[in-house]
């Protein structure tokens, strides 16, 4: 066992070469997942609501987006955005940003489904009651449906955030020095403690994800009380 290698390199695993170089390691992983979930929320909200529309020209693009993204491995998506998007866009993105875009687009599709399911899960009576009192469809969505649906969705969002945190490790393949790649670099330099190094970062990921998962379970229980019935 060579835990000293882990100990010596622990700061590198935490924040990469920062402050002498770019930020990396766990800090970058967290930044990527925070940025990813934030962007994905808005895309997912739009996609989810569009998919609920009765008009085909609104619904269709979001159905296509959601179904395609959910049918493709994230790894593929990362390659697409990194190597192939520049061919289409004629412009390049730095690797961390390009990974971030891939995460946003990928997670957005899943959040879209959460939003759709969340809105559908509300009792039909909520929409009827608000329409019956003269609110327009948009007002009903804005003041009655979404405030409830989004709150009910918080646990699902947290779960999605956990998945995304795990998925940031895939940015490794295009050379983003997040936690996994930092660990691979350390391992490649030393080559004598792979078990220790990988176990360490497994535990680091675990701590973050487990805390979030536990939080989401708590929220779920708390939330069950306030849901509309019937």
């Amino acid at each position: 066992m060579q835990w000293d290698i882990v100990i010596d390199n622990f700061p590198y695993l935490l924040w990469g070469a920062y402050p002498k170089g770019p930020l990396g390691g766990l800090a970058l992983s967290i930044l990527l997942s925070l940025g990813g979930i934030f962007g994905a929320f808005w895309i997912g909200l739009a996609a989810g609501l569009m998919r609920l529309s009765k008009r085909w020209f609104i619904k269709l693009p979001s159905v296509i987006y959601i179904e395609i993204i959910r049918g493709v491995p994230l790894l593929m998506l990362i390659f697409w955005f990194y190597f192939l998007a520049p061919i289409l866009l004629g412009k390049t993105l730095p690797e961390a940003e390009s990974a971030l875009v891939a995460f946003i687009v990928f997670t957005g599709a899943y959040i879209g489904e959460i939003v759709r399911a969340g809105v559908i899960a509300l009792p039909k009576g909520q929409m009827e009651a608000s329409r019956a009192s003269g609110l327009t469809h948009l007002q009903a969505m804005r003041y009655v449906i979404l405030p409830q649906a989004l709150r009910n969705m918080i646990p699902s969002f947290v779960n999605q955030f956990v998945s995304l945190t795990k998925d940031t490790s895939l940015a490794y393949v295009i050379g983003v020095v997040e936690l996994t790649r930092a660990a691979v670099q350390v391992n490649n330099r030393t080559l004598s403690a792979p078990m220790e190094i990988y176990l360490t970062i497994l535990v680091m990921y675990f701590v973050i994800c487990y805390v979030l998962t536990a939080l989401s379970r708590k929220l779920e229980k708390k939330m069950a009380r306030y849901q509309a019935r019937g």
């Binding site: 010596d8 390199n9 590198y12 990469g16 070469a17 002498k20 170089g21 990194y82 190597f83 520049p86 061919i87 390049t92 993105l93 730095p94 690797e95 393949v173 295009i174 050379g175 020095v177 790649r181 691979v184 670099q185 391992n187 490649n188 330099r189 080559l191 004598s192 792979p194």
Partner: protein, 248 residues
């Protein structure tokens, strides 16, 4: 052209590897990328009068990144091949090497001929991957993302040999706790002249790089860099036995 872009942005973006000792790797003490390729890039940046900015590439990402313009130069232990000329341009050969095998000292393997039916480790998208398949069609080739992973596979017994350019093998061997347990064997399976990869159709930029390389060689600066990494006092001693192509 590209030179104007670089000057405008004030930085030359170079793609180097981050785990190939001694060409490009992360120095433990400083957490910075260092190595022979890094120093060559630094010299070019200096000539251009701009900052040097480094990006990590791997054997399989370096060409797309040059094509897409994510890096200006790929200085990443890249062999100059005709097939690659179709998509990118190369500078003059700035380093000359050949492909060999790294094996355990007592393995009894002497050359590619002994590899029939055995597993050989190398990296994805490298010339070594193709060469070994030609040299020994009966070997099973395991391709990894990085050389150290290939060496780790060898150490753990998942493969009997690592094959790639001999300097890289030397770097791997000397980074092991007991270098004496490993041996670099066989004839050159293929010659491996390294070139700097740049985007196509920009002869100004290529000329500039080639001229810089020439100047480095003539002024003796190149030899200094070379000796820093491959000299007698370094961990990776390799006598300088070739000449850069020089322009009058």
């Amino acid at each position: 052209g590209r030179i104007d872009d670089i000057k405008a942005r004030g930085a030359l973006v170079c793609g180097v590897k981050d785990s190939v000792v001694p060409f490009g790797y992360v120095d433990q003490a400083s957490s910075q990328l260092v190595g022979f390729d890094v120093d060559i890039c630094r010299a070019i940046a200096k000539d251009l009068g701009v900052e040097l900015q480094l990006k990590t590439v791997t054997s399989s990402t370096r060409i797309p990144m040059v094509v897409n313009g994510q890096v200006d130069i790929a200085a990443a232990t890249m062999t100059h091949k005709h097939a690659r000329d179709e998509v990118i341009d190369f500078s003059l050969t700035y380093f000359m090497d050949g492909q060999k095998l790294l094996v355990a000292k007592d393995s009894g393997i002497k050359s590619a001929a002994d590899l029939a039916g055995k597993k050989v480790a190398t990296v994805k998208g490298s010339t070594s991957e193709k060469n070994i398949k030609t040299a020994q069609p009966k070997a099973r080739v395991l391709s990894f993302d990085e050389y150290p992973q290939a060496f780790l596979a060898l150490k753990q017994g998942k493969a009997v040999a690592v094959t790639t350019d001999s300097t890289i093998l030397l770097g791997l061997k000397n980074s092991a706790p007991e270098p004496a347990n490993w041996a670099i064997v066989g004839d050159y399976i293929a010659a491996e002249p390294y070139g700097l990869g740049i985007a196509e159709n920009d002869s100004d930029f290529r000329d500039f790089i080639n001229k810089t390389l020439n100047d480095l060689w003539r002024s003796g600066e190149y030899q200094k860099i070379y000796n820093k990494w491959f000299g007698k006092d370094s961990n990776y001693y390799l006598p300088l036995t070739w000449q850069m192509e020089l322009w009058p």
